[in-house]
C-alpha cells in the first residue's frame, strides 16, 4: 500500500507534480543536449583532423615527425605491416607518401601537399570517392593522374582532364617533376586542407619523388576510438621503437588536444551552473510540497505512522517523480540529439568564418553516445534524490502538534 499511497499522492496536486517532473525533464534534456553538443564539437574537431585525414595513430620512421622530409621516410616493411594489423582494434593500416611540391598551371602556381595513397586502403580513411564533386576516383595504384581539392583546383583554374605540373625535391635531393591529368576534384570539409591538397596513387607518387617502395607513414584506422590507448600500447610494445615511432593524434596535434581539453573544462563549468539552476528549480517545488503537506504529515504521525514509514512514502513519491522526469527527459533528449546528428546546426556569417579559420566545418554537431545519456540521467537523478532529502529531514524531526498548528 505504501507504493500505491506514494503513487496516488504524486497525482494529488497534478500541477505541482507536473512542474517538478518538468524541472527534472528539462534538466535531463538540457544537460544531455549541452554535453552532446560539446562532445559532438570535440569529436568533430578530432574527426576532422584525425579521423578524416591523419588517422588516430601513425607509425613513421624514427625522427620523421620532427623533420618531415622524404629523407626520413621508411622502406615498406611486411613485418611492420603485420605487427600493425595484429594490434587490437586496428581496422586498416593505410600507407602514405607525403611531400610538398609546387603546383603549376598556366600562370598560376601554389605550394601543395601531395599525398600518395593506396586507392583501395585509403577508402577507410580520407575516402575520397564520396567527396568527389567532379570527375572520378582512381582506377589503379599507378595511373598518372591526380585528384585535387576544389579550393586548389579553383585557384589554379583547373578542370577535369586538364594537366597539372608538379615541381619539387625528391629523395636525397633529387628533383621531382611530373605532369599529371586531373582525374577528379574533391571538396574537403576543412577549408585549409581544401586549398592545398593533391592526391595521387601511391606508386605514382613514389615515382615522382624517386622513393620506390618507401612510405612517409602508416596511418592507422581503428575500429573503436575509445580503444586508442590499447592499440598504442600494443604497438609500442611490439614494434622496434629504435627504428620506428608511434604517435597518436594528441602527440601529432597538441594544439587540437589543448583545444579539446579547454572546451571540456569550459563545458564542465557551464554544466555545473546548469545543475545548480536545475537543483534550485526542483528544490523550490519540493519545498512547496513539503510546506503544503506539513499538516498532513503531522496527522499521519499523530495517528501512529512512524516517521521512518512516512519518510519512506515521501521518498518513494520523490523517486517516482525524479524517475518519471528522467525517463521522459531521456527519451526526449535521445530524439533531440538524434535529430541534430542527422541535421547538424549550420552556422553562417562571422561565426562560420571563425570556424573555418580554425580549419573546421561551419557546423555544430551533436554526439550520440549512450554514455552521455545515462551519465546525465544519473547525475540529474542523483541531484533530485539528494534534494528530496530535505522533506525527509523535516519528517524525521517532525513534531505532530507543531505540524498540525502550521509551526
Amino acid at each position: 500500500m505504501y507504493l500505491k499511497l506514494a503513487w496516488l499522492n504524486l497525482w494529488r496536486n497534478k500541477r505541482r507534480t507536473i512542474i517538478a517532473i518538468t524541472s527534472v525533464f528539462y534538466a535531463v534534456v538540457l544537460s544531455v543536449f549541452m554535453t552532446s553538443l560539446q562532445m559532438g564539437t570535440m569529436n568533430q574537431m578530432v574527426a576532422n583532423v584525425a579521423g578524416a585525414y591523419s588517422g588516430y595513430i601513425q607509425v613513421h620512421q624514427k625522427g620523421y615527425w620532427d623533420d618531415q622530409s622524404l629523407d626520413n621516410s621508411m622502406v615498406t616493411n611486411d613485418a611492420l605491416a603485420n605487427t600493425i594489423k595484429q594490434a587490437p582494434d586496428v581496422d586498416e593500416s593505410v600507407p602514405r607518401l607525403q611531400s610538398f611540391a609546387l603546383a603549376s598551371s598556366g600562370n598560376a602556381t601554389k605550394g601543395v601537399m601531395i599525398t600518395g595513397i593506396d586507392p583501395i586502403k585509403e577508402r577507410k580513411l580520407v575516402n575520397l570517392e564520396p567527396k568527389i564533386i567532379r570527375g572520378k576516383y582512381f582506377g589503379s595504384d599507378s595511373e598518372q593522374s591526380v585528384i585535387l581539392a576544389s579550393g586548389l583546383a579553383d585557384y589554379l583554374k583547373l578542370k577535369i582532364n586538364d594537366t597539372i605540373v608538379f615541381l619539387g625535391q625528391g629523395y636525397h635531393g633529387s628533383s621531382a617533376a611530373g605532369k599529371y591529368s586531373i582525374k577528379g576534384i574533391i571538396k574537403l570539409v576543412s577549408p585549409d586542407l581544401n586549398k592545398s591538397m593533391a592526391f595521387m596513387p601511391l606508386k605514382t607518387a613514389q615515382a615522382l619523388f624517386s622513393t620506390p617502395a618507401m612510405l612517409s607513414s602508416y596511418a592507422i584506422v581503428i575500429k573503436d576510438v575509445d580503444g586508442i590507448d590499447r592499440t598504442l600500447a600494443y604497438l609500442k610494445k611490439n614494434m622496434d621503437t629504435s627504428k620506428y615511432e608511434v604517435m597518436d593524434w594528441k602527440q601529432m596535434s597538441p594544439e587540437l588536444d589543448q583545444a579539446v581539453k579547454g572546451k571540456m573544462a569550459s563545458g564542465s563549468i557551464i554544466e555545473g551552473v546548469l545543475y545548480m539552476i536545475v537543483a534550485f528549480g526542483i528544490f523550490g517545488t519540493i519545498l512547496m510540497m513539503t510546506t503544503e503537506r506539513t499538516y498532513e504529515f503531522g496527522v499521519l504521525v499523530a495517528i501512529g505512522m512512524n516517521r521512518r514509514r512516512l519518510a519512506l512514502v515521501t521518498a518513494l513519491e520523490s523517486l517516482f517523480m525524479s524517475f518519471l522526469g528522467v525517463l521522459i527527459g531521456y527519451v526526449a533528449s535521445m530524439a533531440l540529439v538524434l535529430y541534430f546528428v542527422h541535421y547538424p546546426i549550420h552556422m553562417t556569417g562571422a561565426l562560420a568564418k571563425s570556424y573555418e579559420q580554425f580549419g573546421l566545418a561551419p557546423y555544430i554537431y551533436t554526439a550520440f553516445q549512450f554514455s552521455i545519456f545515462y551519465n546525465q540521467a544519473i547525475i540529474v537523478f542523483v541531484i533530485s534524490v539528494l534534494i528530496c532529502l530535505y522533506p525527509l529531514s523535516k519528517i524525521l524531526k517532525l513534531k505532530p502538534v507543531e505540524a498540525m498548528h502550521g509551526e
Binding site: 499511497l5 498532513e296 495517528i303 501512529g304 505512522m305 512512524n306 514509514r309
Partner: protein
C-alpha cells in the same frame, strides 16, 4: 481499573520567553467505557490536555499513565507506536488520507500495525457497516459529505482496537443531522462495545450526550460532573 490517570499535569508554553500556562495541575482519572467531554471556552486548555493524553505533546510537569504505563517518559518514536496500538484519534477536520478510499483509509491503520490481510478486510467491512457506510467503501473522501467523512474517521480510529478514542471537536464541522447521527454511532459503540470516548468540545449536542462533563477554565479543572 483506570484506563487513564492524569496526575498533576501542567503545560506551560513560552511566547517570546514569556511563560503562558495552558493547563495547570490537572488530575483526572478515566475508567473503561467512559463517554466523557472536556468542555470550556477557546483557550481553556482542553485541546492541550487532549494532546497530552494522546502523547502528541509532553507535559511540563506531571505524568499521564495509560493502563499502568507512564507515557510521559516514552521517547517520541515509542510514543508513536504506543499511539498506534492504544489510542484512536478523531479530528475536527476529519483528516482522512484524500487519495485513499474509505476502505483503504480504515485499513491503513491496521496496515501500520502489520495485521494480516484477511483480518484487515474483515474488520474494515465490519466497521464501515457499523458506521453505516458499507455502500461507500470504495468512495474517496472528496466524494463524501462531512458527516460521512467523520464516520469513516471514527471507523479508522476504531480499526486499531484502541483502549480509548480521543475526539477533538468531532462535530464542529457537521450539520445537526450529521452530528446527531455521528453521536448516535459513537454512543452505540460506547454502550455495546464499552469503548471509552473522550471529547474536547464546546458543542452542546455533545455535552448533552456525555456521561461525564469536565469543565476547564484557564487551564484548571473547574468542575467534573457525572450526568445521566
Amino acid at each position: 481499573m483506570n484506563v487513564i490517570d492524569i496526575n498533576n499535569v501542567s503545560k506551560v508554553y513560552h511566547d517570546n520567553a514569556i511563560p503562558v500556562p495552558a493547563v495547570t495541575d490537572v488530575t483526572l482519572h478515566f475508567t473503561e467505557g467512559e463517554f466523557a467531554a472536556l468542555v470550556g471556552p477557546s483557550g481553556s486548555g482542553k485541546t492541550t490536555l487532549l494532546n497530552i493524553i494522546g502523547g502528541l505533546d509532553k507535559p511540563t510537569k506531571g505524568e499521564v499513565i495509560i493502563e499502568g504505563q507512564n507515557v510521559t517518559s516514552l521517547s517520541d518514536s515509542k510514543m508513536i507506536d504506543f499511539r498506534l496500538q492504544n489510542i484512536g484519534f478523531v479530528f475536527q477536520a476529519y483528516n482522512l488520507i484524500p487519495v485513499l478510499t474509505a476502505r483503504e483509509n480504515v485499513e491503513f491503520i491496521m496496515l501500520l500495525q502489520k495485521r494480516p490481510k484477511a483480518e484487515r478486510e474483515k474488520r474494515v467491512a465490519e466497521l464501515l457497516k457499523e458506521v453505516g457506510l458499507q455502500d461507500k467503501m470504495d468512495t474517496r473522501p472528496n466524494e463524501m459529505s462531512g458527516g460521512q467523512q467523520q464516520r469513516v474517521a471514527v471507523a479508522r480510529a476504531l480499526a486499531s482496537k484502541p483502549k480509548f478514542i480521543l475526539a477533538d471537536e468531532p462535530t464542529a464541522n457537521l450539520d445537526s443531522k450529521s452530528a446527531a447521527n455521528l453521536l448516535d454511532i459513537m454512543s452505540e459503540m460506547n454502550k455495546n462495545e464499552n469503548i471509552t470516548f473522550i471529547f474536547s468540545t464546546h458543542d452542546s449536542r455533545v455535552i448533552e450526550r456525555a456521561h461525564r462533563v469536565i469543565t476547564l477554565t484557564d487551564g484548571v479543572v473547574s468542575s467534573d460532573v457525572l450526568q445521566k
